[in-house]
């Protein structure tokens, strides 16, 4: 028997082969390059060499201060948010067996927006910490509601999520139209941005994202079993109900934390799983690993774009991802056929 090549892979992988490891390493190299680039680009450009020195050998020059205190945290935030959105997208698409599913269908995004609207209407969601708190509470409650009603089947879940999203968005919109101040405040949150968000208390959301990403990898082998159908998963000993519940918790944490810190950033959760589906070749562990690398790359590139596209200031990153994501989605459909959707 010939074995083409084996390498030790993630704990969740059923059997790993060299090309997949190579692709992952390539992705990590790309991610590093894009991260360094993103820390150099902006109103005050810093050359890549200086970026690396600022991180490894901090001297306290202006450039180093910018990298360490502003752009570094911002890049880190982009990496965490990008990975969280992409992995939660991969999870929800796997769970719902629907390639058009995105983490927002659990009502997480609408719940966060609703809570922030209520919070600002009551005058409680002032400042970034307040916004963050309301966003977290809103997304968790919304996701709990949707999963409580819809956890019995993927279709029910999607329908419940869509229904709740419509209700929450409608009520929140009504409130904002009646209260112009609230509308103003919401406007900045709702476009999705990484600008100046690096100054918010980020330790908790970023920690939640890191823990959830690890959880997603641990769960991926059970999701591999679930991908063979409920009957097979159950008789393989994967406990369908528990696996599904765990995945829903992870999706809520990832998407809720990302939305709370960066606002609703569309398309990353939808498009990244599509882009990595082919190389993952039906394996959930690889899908998650690739999403974990490509999501940050996409968001960093979008964030760089948000800083250089307009000479006068910043375009919110949520708008850049929409512009990047639209064509990418069309490209993915043309490349892999509608079957990939």
């Amino acid at each position: 028997m010939t074995v083409a090549g084996r390498a030790s892979g993630p704990a969740g992988a059923e059997r790993t082969v060299a090309p997949q490891v190579g692709l992952l390493v390539g992705g990590l190299v790309l991610l590093t390059a894009v991260a360094v680039l993103s820390m150099g680009v902006g109103a005050h450009p810093v050359p890549p060499g200086d970026v690396v020195r600022a991180l490894l050998d901090y001297q306290g020059t202006d450039n180093h201060v910018i990298v360490r205190d502003v752009r570094g945290p911002r890049a880190l935030l982009a990496v965490a948010v990008g990975a969280a959105l992409a992995v939660s997208g991969a999870l929800i698409q796997t769970l719902a067996r629907n390639p058009l599913a995105e983490p927002g269908i659990l009502g997480v995004t609408a719940g966060a927006g609703f809570a922030i609207t209520i919070g600002s209407a009551l005058g409680l969601a002032a400042g970034q910490a307040g916004e963050l708190g309301f966003a977290v509470i809103g997304s968790v409650i919304a996701a709990l509601l949707v999963t409580a009603v819809g956890r019995r089947s993927p279709l029910r879940l999607v329908l419940t999520g869509v229904a709740l999203t419509a209700v929450l968005s409608g009520v929140a919109l009504g409130l904002r139209l009646m209260l112009p101040d609230v509308f103003d405040m919401y406007r900045f949150w709702s476009v999705g941005s990484l600008a100046a968000r690096e100054q918010a208390p980020l330790a908790l959301p970023v920690a939640a994202i890191v823990v959830s990403l690890a959880g997603a990898l641990l769960l991926s082998r059970a999701l591999n079993a679930l991908a063979l159908g409920e009957n097979v998963a159950q008789t393989l000993g994967a406990g369908v109900g528990r696996v599904r519940a765990a995945a829903l918790v992870l999706i809520t944490l990832l998407c809720g934390a990302a939305t709370a810190v960066a606002g609703p950033i569309l398309f990353v959760g939808l498009i990244v799983p599509h882009l990595v589906r082919k190389p993952a070749a039906g394996s959930v562990p690889w899908l998650i690993l690739y999403a974990m690398v490509l999501g940050p790359v996409l968001l960093l590139v979008a964030d760089i774009g948000s800083r250089v596209l307009l000479p006068t200031g910043e375009v919110p990153v949520g708008i850049v991802t929409a512009f990047l994501g639209g064509p990418m989605l069309i490209w993915a459909v043309r490349r892999y056929g509608a079957g990939s959707l």
Partner: protein
Amino acid sequence: MTARLTARDITLRYGDRVVSTRLSLDVPDGAFTAIVGPNACGKSTLLRALVRLMRPEAGQVELDGRAVGDYAPKTLAKQLGFLPQDPLAPEDIKVRQLVSRGRFPHQSLLALWSPEDEEAVTEAMAAAGVEDLAGRPVQELSGGQRQRVWIAMVLAQRTPYLLLDEPTSFLDITHQYQLLGLLARLRDEGRTVIAVLHDINQACRFADHLVAMRDGRVVAEGVPGDIVDAALIKDVFDLPSVIVPDPVTGTPMIVPTLQGE
């Protein structure tokens, strides 16, 4: 005859529809058991109850004298391998990767792929005759090849029991016989095989133990040659027939006497 796997007075129902009432069955160890009967007679439901996909409302399914419901999921999964009628192959998955998923019950949360996993997968693929397909995408395979790949997946689970729900449906006649031959060989190697089969003649030829069901009840069970006669076929299928010896194997062969209306 010994039987590690038994159903004791089980009552099975879907919502308001009672499928079986107080059904009992001993599955003979190391034999090929075929469950036959008309559509909606409860044969697939019984199979689902045996592998704990369905919980009996009353009574229980026992393995080694202990209710299957009391086993930890992975412990039971090391004993009972099951192939449903409609397994889903993820898009783009390759044959070997699909077979590898049968190792799930043997892997702990953090375990890496072990030499034992590797060996089990290689062995399962050889037993099901799909080694040559290892690198092929499952979706490109023919129906017969795909079914053998799924059986290899269940074999990689390394269970003493193999339960299959109508494994021959959707296969052309050649592949039906090849598949049943494979199941008989697996039985010869020591596994206990339980299959719901559609074709009573195939069941008579390949099974050691035939279970004939109707309306959720076991009408008759035993060695096909001992229990199959025209009266039984009339009882179970409402079909007038004559029974002749299969010219190849000597097992009972049902020839319906119905001609047109």
